[in-house]
Symmetry: D3
Subunit: 124 residues, 6 copies
């Protein structure tokens, strides 16, 4: 069952960030501490994110909502990328940011607009 | 169009909290300041919540996510009630709380569990 | 000069909360830790609050703004009382709460409305 | 009346950031979402900021207080610029930062000092 | 190994809150969601809290520090009780609260003083 | 006694950041406002940090915990450096970050990992 969680975690992170992104995340976290890297892969992604009670897109949306509300720009960037990979549209992410402006304040929305613009800017 | 927003706001709040709840909210806010009450009804509920780009249930979910993450228990209570009225299930709200434990910390989840339990406790 | 700060701190807290309120605050804090009580009286109130560069009312307003934004209801209650004693009007405090709704989110404003209502409710 | 709010919003933002700054803000927000840009101009600046109950300088001060307390550096920078344009002095902004150190913690003050220094550094 | 984590988690929570407290916590969390209850026991207490790299008392202290800084009163109460059971003295907890006043603001310290006083008040 | 606090503050900051670091901090803060610089040296470092009730290492740990939990990256960097100078090991700081992931959320831990990596990266 532990192995199962590991597989599920890897699969889920690949869905969110592609094979290369999932691997890069792995290396970053395991380079810091292998057990914590394993905890995040197996328990957070293989466990909590993989629970059946809520569709993946809804999980991605509430994750972005929390990150916007708390003003965590770096992690928000990562999760906007993940959301787009899941098929959440740019228009939907905009709605989340605008909606949140009233729940965590306009400054958190403006910060999120900056992050959103960085992620969605056309590559040069 | 301003009138339109007013109607939309009233309709939306009735969907969330029933006729009695919407009226009580109105009285509370307008008792404090009529213009602010009008702003919240017309602009927040009739405007932002009524934008077509995101389904109502998704808006309710990201609202709960922000309130859990920020530890705003009193408003969370109000929005859990609203969510249940929209047809979001207790099981789905549980998933949101559990998911958020990893994004804003276990203590925010435990606080949300207390709030959730108060709302869903069988009436005596 | 240290004594001077002590006197200034006592005087300032008396202005904010009356003689009885200042004494009660003293007892609460010194009952916890006399040196911390002294630090707050001498350095926070006798020092920082007593710096000449900003009028007392402005200091009271920015204190309330921070407490609303951070959702610190118990301390906000204390400082709304202090603000009223300085001659800041109920109408001005309402403006602060409404203004802040856009900077820290509507839920922080709604919480502040509850606190404001408790302080300003007619004594029975 | 809606047009009135639009004019008021434009006028107020011009007071805060000059014609060029107000226009740049407009473009940034409307580039993200025209309706949200309109909401912020008309309702936040033309509505809430333009309410008569609190002088503009007091609104600017409580806005900076909230942004310092919440650690929103990018928006604080924008509002320190606005404050200076309203005639709030550098010395007064320093007092706000120092005062807040006791209400949201010394680290929020130190971050605000960095932001303040960037805004007020002599142009090379 | 999974069973090992379960045992470790139960043992650690018993150290913190006694047999009765650990059981009550279990029932509260498992009543909400058995898998989340298991996650917290096995992964949070049996996993992270049980890592050898930091003494238990240090873990308790940084937990209280985070809860004070974030203003999570209900969870702080639970962890002050746990700290006292580990042999952390009341005087040490006072130092943590006073120290934190400068890092998350005096209001978070005053809130923590209230919580501390409730926990340590002589039973009537 | 005031002089005593000044000496203690200087000594403590020298322990944390070396002679050069303490001086640089002094210049930065006194350049902003000499009295606030004096307050921080004398009252925060010479006063609160120098209270005998808690060992220096424990104070450093709870300071880092608060800064991680509140997401104050710039100040966290400064205090990770201070912690290493006190003899707290890199392994212990890692434990604090991992532990905190459950109390203020995984994103605060990931941000802290980035800060930690910057401080501990081999100088080129």
């Amino acid at each position: 069952m532990a192995d199962d969680k590991h597989e599920k975690g890897m699969a889920l992170r690949t869905q969110l960030w592609g094979e290369r992104g999932a691997k890069a995340g792995n290396e970053f976290l395991s380079g810091f501490d292998p057990d914590f890297g394993k905890f995040l892969n197996d328990e957070l992604f293989g466990g909590i994110w993989s629970r059946p009670g809520l569709p993946l897109k809804a999980r991605s949306m509430i994750t972005m909502a929390a990150l916007i509300a708390l003003g965590r720009a770096a992690e928000l960037k990562v999760h906007i990328r993940g959301a787009l990979n899941l098929g959440i549209t740019q228009a939907e992410i905009k709605e989340i940011i605008i909606h949140l402006s009233q729940y965590s304040g306009v400054p958190t929305a403006v910060e999120a607009i900056r992050t959103f613009s960085e992620v969605t800017a056309p590559k040069k």
